[in-house]
Each structure stands twice: as C-alpha cells, then as structure tokens.
Subunit: 237 residues, 2 copies
DNA sequence: ACAGCCGATTGACTCAGATCAAATTTGAGT
DNA sequence: ACTCAAATTTGATCTGAGTCAATCGGCTGT
C-alpha cells in the first residue's frame, strides 16, 4: 500500500520521553550527545499497511522504530514474497553498502519511527566510535538471527516452523510486554506464511491442529500457549 | 571430522606476501598499522574435512581466510544440517555477541587461515575506528547475502535454487580466478544440498537435467556453463 | 440489523521433492 | 592394475505441503 497520510512532528527535544532511549542505538550515547542527536532525527508516523521504504529505493534515511511493528520483505519478480524479519521498537533500519535498501518495509498497524537523514547521521557517527560499535553489535545480532532463520527455512517441517515462530515471537515481545503465555500476533496469516516459507493454508491448518491438540488456543489477535513445554518440544525437533 | 594435524607457522613478517592483504579486513590498515597487525596473527593450516571451530565453542579467535574454501553450517539436534554459507579467501570469521560461535566451520580441501587471539585483536581495534568500520561493512554485506539466501530457501523451486547457486558461486569466484564459464565446485553434492535446503538426490537430478538440456556440462570437480543466459533465466524465475 | 468484503478456515486433490533402494562411478591405498 | 569404500547417479514410490475451491466469520459502513 502506498503512503497516504504521513504525519511528521516538528523537531524538538523529545528524546527525553522516548520509549526506546535506553534500548536502541541511542543507548550508546551520553546525555550531552543525546541532546545533539535529537536534533538530527524527527518522528514520523505511518498508518497501517503504509510502506516506509522499498527495496529498490536509494537510501536517504536511517530509521529507529519507536512504536508498532513492521514487516521487512523481499519480492521476486513474479510476486512471491519472503519476509526476512519483523521490526519492533528499538530496531534500527537502513544500514547497507550499496546505497539502496535491500528489502522493503511496511507498517503493520500504526508505526512511529525516528527518522535520520543519512548524511547528517553519517557525519554524527564519524567521530563517535561508541555509536559505530553499537551499530556493529546490532548488525551482528541480526546476522545471527538471519542464520537461525536459514536453518528454519531450509531444514524444518511446517509444524516445527510454526512452533519455532510462536516461541521466537513470544521471546521478542518479552522486552516490550514482559513474558506471557498470551502472545499477540499483529501480523496476518499471510505474513506468517511468507516469513516461514509456507502457504497461508498450511499456517492456518497447523494453528488449528495445535489448538485441537490442546497445545495452544487461538484468540482474537493472537494465540495463547496452553502447553509451552509441548510447543518447545515441537520446535526443538 | 576432528582436527588431526594442524600446522602452525612461526610468527613473522608475512603480511607482505599475503594474498588477501588488499581484500580482507587488512585493506583498512596503512603500512605502519599492518606491521603491527601482523604480529597479532599467525597462519594456521587445516586439512580437508578438519573443523576450524564449532558452534557451541567459546570464541577464542578471529579468522581471516587466506586460502581454500570452508563450509559454515548449523546442525539440528537430530543431525539435519543447514549450510549458512561458504567462506573464501578474504572472508573474516569469528564476530559474535554471545561469546560463542553461532555456527561451525570446516575445511573443504586444504585451508590456510590467519588466526588472531580474540583479546589482542579486540585491543587492536579499540582505537582504530577505520578497522571497525571495515568489519561493520563486512557484517552488513553478509547480512544482505543472508537475506537473499532466505528468499532462496523460503520461496524458490529446486531448479531455481540450483541455477541461482551456480551463478552465485561463479560470481564469488570472479575476484579469485576471474570470470569464467567453467565453475569449479570444491564442495560435495551433499554440501550443495545442505546449502540449498534440498536432498542430495534432488541436486544430482537437477544437475543431470540441466546437462541433458544442454545448459551445463558436468565436468570433473565442477561444471561448465554452456548457456549462461538460460541459467540466468532459470534463476530469475 | 443487514449487506458486502476481506481474512481465515476447511476440504478435496495434486505434485514437487523426499525417501527408499539399487546401480554406477570415482578415488585412495596396496 | 586391483580392491574396497565413499560419492554420485538413477529409478521407483511415497508424502508433506501446495493448489484449487468453497465456506465461514468478523468488521465496516449504511
């Protein structure tokens, strides 16, 4: 979906009340740096389904997710889609070598990002190795996750994929909402399918099967883990 | 396979004649830094099939591949294997956050690496943002490749996987051997299968099919692209 | 409340790729 | 050259997940 109404807040001192101040790239900055830093970014809002950036575009900005969930994906020429990840508050997007984004990103529900112009952000990093080190850490963590996901895509069965996804997603929500057996799933079944390398029908059938086995309960906007241990057993193979 | 005979050359001034001096992480260092740097590393040889490091191990070293090919892989508890990449001369291995390697690496044929103790390497980086920037670049490039590979694993057919692999491998060999329609494949069929998320039988059948179609020729230790354009068409989907 | 729409579920059937099972080729060691 | 083991190829069959095709259910707007 194309962006329709994008709201940009006026610049100002807003890092103070930023939810991800301690989590994101910002965590590597001291108070003085943070004051300087906040003038570089501006908060931008996106509505549900709006595209924040797309694959083929020249990179002009970096993004720090503040609120909401985004799907990150690549498309094949014939329309097949692979979701390479979901971005949550605290995630940092826009790093690349080619000068182009190598995936597209759109909002799942309402999203707020902190957007930085590429040039001024790069200049800011220049003499702050601490920030560069932080960004490097984030890249290495993502690389590790990407490798785990390759194993899932290449070598796991549909049941294992779904079980692993539910546990992994629950884990990602821990820092945002605390650990809970009730897992909200803001993304569609199609999104889950495209993340796991399955079809929507297989995802749906697997959910139903798990529910009939009494392992999960499908609730509005998510699932509830009735028997986490059994889900873990399914995921482990 | 366990390491049997690992030959370690005595330390010394060897960066001068290092094949990857201009390519690897070293390319970010000036002559003076390189002189200091070479005292940190030592060349280590591994025989065919030997394990350089494994997944669960605590990381004690970083590695710069000098000669040969390595397979990088993860295993599931039941033995299923996913190869997450192949390492070639110039590749840098060992970055991680957890303090543990998150994949295993073994030699395909004879391999020489430049091995750095983690502690001294980290200290050397400390006040050399240039080197950190270089390492960050390498991480970002790998991340981009990892995402491409996710698309392949999750959304491409066996034919597309094999065709994409042949072209991608040929491309990786360009910087080492120049562009050629003759592509050497040092890894086994099983390795290729585990890289593409297929079985050895499917890889073998696909090779044979491509050969019967006159698109490739299976030669000793590799293949020859008889009709590169047609392989590209198969890969693009 | 109702109509219409979109996402999700369910069922019937198909098929790409896996599995099982031999050959066949290759290669290292004698 | 000869033997044995391992890697690869080939064939026959099976099956997990995909495809095609209806429903079903939950919102939205009237």
């Amino acid at each position: 979906m194309k962006p329709s109404v994008v709201t940009i807040e006026p610049n100002g001192h807003f890092c103070d009340d930023c939810a991800v101040r301690g989590a994101a790239v910002c965590s590597s900055l001291d108070a003085a740096e943070l004051r300087e830093f906040e003038h570089l970014g501006r908060r931008v809002h996106f509505g549900s389904g709006e595209t924040v950036f797309s694959e083929e575009e020249i990179t002009t900005s970096f993004y720090n997710v503040l609120e909401g969930v985004m799907r990150l994906y690549k498309l094949l020429p014939d329309g097949r889609r692979q979701i390479v990840g979901f971005a949550l508050p605290g995630d940092f997007l826009g790093m690349n070598l080619s000068g182009r984004h190598n995936f597209s990103a759109d909002a799942i529900g309402a999203v707020t990002v902190c957007q930085f112009a590429k040039a001024s952000f790069s200049r800011f990093i220049e003499d702050r190795p601490q920030l560069l080190r932080r960004i490097n850490e984030l890249a290495i963590r993502e690389l590790s996750q990407a490798r785990d996901h390759m194993v899932l895509l290449g070598r796991r069965s549909a049941d294992e994929k779904v079980a692993t996804f539910l546990l992994g997603w629950r884990e990602r929500l821990v820092t945002l909402k605390g650990l809970s057996d009730t897992v909200s799933l803001p993304m569609s079944r199609q999104d889950i399918a495209d993340y796991l390398g399955l079809t929507i029908e297989t995802v749906s059938r697997t959910f139903t099967k798990l529910e009939r086995q009494g392992v999960i309960e499908i609730i509005h906007g998510g699932i509830s883990l009735l028997d986490p241990a059994r889900v873990e057993a399914m995921a482990a193979a």
